[in-house]
């Protein structure tokens, strides 16, 4: 019997390096996948249904919301986005660890619906370091950087329901901690009591 996968919710301030860390961690790992969201927005050229997103119409989307078929959902620029529960459950049943890279509001919705989700908050070594990274990118105005920092401080206040905090000082170390957390979660006694017989 293949072990059920884990749902991993990864959040953290913009600039913390979530994508870098999670791609590094998932390198060569066939037991990890990302969740695929549904959206009501139209596909852009080159986007494939079921790959970037499941593209659905508003009627179906509203129905999914009403029926609790989305683990979390939110509106951006008049379009709905959400994480389909059935898709996630199916991947977990297949033994895949499913990664959700989402913001805190969505993370909280997931956590309420699936309290066994592995909640990981990724942070930079310090907010000063975050400032240096954002300035180093050279893509944001000073005002935008201040905005991101203020938002990070706000997120830190709201992040207290996460089970784990990983500090991204060195990407390899953060990726190793991410994987260690998933391995440890697979060893939780609550999942393995059937072995005590």
């Amino acid at each position: 019997m293949r072990e059920k996968g884990k749902l991993i919710v990864l959040s953290g301030p913009s600039g913390a390096g979530k994508s870098t860390v999670v791609f590094k961690a998932m390198e060569g790992r066939e037991d990890f996948c990302f969740s695929t969201s549904v959206t009501t927005r139209k596909p852009r050229p080159g986007e494939v249904d079921g790959r970037e997103y499941f593209f659905i119409d508003r009627e179906r989307y509203d129905q999914m919301v009403d029926r609790g078929e989305l683990l979390e959902h939110a509106e951006y620029v008049n379009n709905g986005y959400g994480t389909p529960r059935a898709f996630v459950e199916q991947r977990l049943a297949e033994g895949m660890n499913v990664v959700l890279d989402i913001e805190i509001q969505g993370a909280r919705q997931v956590y309420e619906k699936m309290p066994d989700a592995v909640m990981i908050f990724l942070i930079p070594p310090s907010l000063e370091e975050l400032r240096r990274r954002l300035e180093g990118r050279g893509t944001d105005t000073q005002e935008a950087i201040e905005g991101r920092l203020a938002r990070a401080r706000q997120e830190y206040e709201e992040a207290r329901f996460y089970r784990y905090i990983v500090v991204n000082e060195v990407v390899d170390k953060a990726a190793a901690e991410f994987l260690a957390i998933v391995t440890a979660e697979h060893c939780r006694a609550s999942d393995r009591l059937h072995l005590l017989k």
Copy 2:
């Protein structure tokens, strides 16, 4: 500031391979150590005070019990044995992960005094496999083997308060899981909330 170490309590039936797994895991790791117990028994030739045991007299031992200075204690063959809390606390404060390889009764005492202890129960893939291993050793009579198996079944009933279960099918994998659990425990948000500022 060096991160505080973790107290790791490892138990499991005789023949599960606790020593093998933990020695494999600790290979080359300077952030791990074993706890040193106190005992009232006399040192054997070659034993050094503070290395194999802290050798103490019965009066001091009883005093430590009365004052709650032992995380757990038990009597064997008219001698007292126990884990000195001060020693463990000091090693943890130095950033060492301290491993206690003890039976369930002692483990329960530790867990009650230090609920943050990382409780790991190591088991063989199955009781049939445990029987094969015990028979393969060739050191026990059939009667002794039946006794060990009966005891293992009893321990499985009592082990439900452990936080993690590691299956020792392949030593390297079990050692890796042991280390992953310790790494993950160091990432627990409850220990790292001070970083959210």
